[in-house]
Symmetry: C2
Subunit: 204 residues, 2 copies
């Protein structure tokens, strides 16, 4: 790599890290490219030699957040009995804990919207889809007769349900709910959903 390219790669890395710190502290709204440029010591406009636009920068930070989440979910998978229903409970609680510990970065994953005419890049879609394996694998063990597409729909539903509990629970918009109660409720509801889906499958 030439010196120039090396310097550009280094600055790009610094820019993404600075953006991550800013978003972690103040959320998506706290991201000002002017401040980031100053922090890494380049002119305002030079930021756009490093990333195409703010969307790309936010997606790069999101990619790092998803990688951290991936690690947390893998750990939750490994740390306990391999029974798929209980694995799903541990993953759901790990998701809740991750969101609570990385509130602004986690919120940004869902609040960020691309400009209306710009599709999400393929790599960002595949980053997100990759995480679904954590839910997909235990579900496939629980429902071995179901086709992959059906398992994917159920994985999405289960994720969305847990996400809703985490999002409204951490938002504390309606009722303040302590994190311990939220974790217990998530475990209860995931167990109920899995048991209910198994009963439906048995009856079908």
């Amino acid at each position: 790599m030439s010196k120039t390219l090396e310097r550009r790669a280094m600055l790009r890395e610094q820019l993404i890290e600075a953006a991550e710190r800013a978003m972690s502290a103040r959320g998506l709204a706290g991201l000002k490219t002017r401040d980031l440029a100053q922090e890494i010591g380049v002119a305002n406009g030079a930021v756009y030699n490093l990333v195409a636009d703010v969307d790309e920068l936010v997606l790069m930070v999101g990619s790092r957040t998803l990688a951290q989440l991936d690690l947390a979910l893998s750990e939750a998978e490994a740390n306990g009995p391999p029974a798929p229903a209980e694995t799903l409970v541990r993953i759901a609680i790990a998701y809740c804990d991750f969101a609570a510990a990385n509130l602004e970065l986690w919120r940004a994953l869902f609040e960020h919207r691309m400009a209306p005419d710009k599709p999400l890049p393929d790599w960002a879609v595949s980053d997100q889809m990759h995480l679904f394996r954590h839910i997909h694998q235990p579900l496939a063990l629980l429902f071995p007769e179901r086709p992959v597409e059906e398992i994917s729909v159920t994985a999405r539903s289960l994720f969305s349900a847990v996400h809703g509990m985490v999002a409204l629970g951490l938002e504390q918009k309606l009722i303040a709910i302590p994190l311990g109660v939220l974790r217990r409720e998530i475990a209860t509801m995931v167990r109920a959903m899995v048991a209910g889906l198994q009963a439906q499958a048995g009856a079908a």
Copy 2:
């Protein structure tokens, strides 16, 4: 009422309706008091003789949205067999349909945040809590031995889970999912949750 008070009440109503139209078309971000003032024919600053601030205006629109949602949920309750598990399924689907039909107004209910130092007024909290009776009542029938506080926690969990499915389903951020599939999935998951919770209660 004096002529002046009458005129103020009328203008306030017009302001709230104009705000509702703006938010319905362009979401929370589409709300510009300058445009609203022009629409109802008052000077810019005069808006703040009608409402204390934009937060109050958004909460007034939210109150109307919640009243419409209340109607939709009451209809869903009445239109079908009274068995509580199936009532919960109809309510969940009605919630999904309402969100899909009133996307921006429904989103605004959740996206709006008060200024950090300002608590939500009591009437707005009670508007929101009032809606929970639609979930609370069938759950109380299903679990007659549970104390009210426990039913409230379960009602909140069930609502949050359905809300998550609706929010991510309508967002179409990860996978585009047709409304018909989403409605079917919500029914499946609500039935699974209720059956699973009943099995847990039976085993306890």
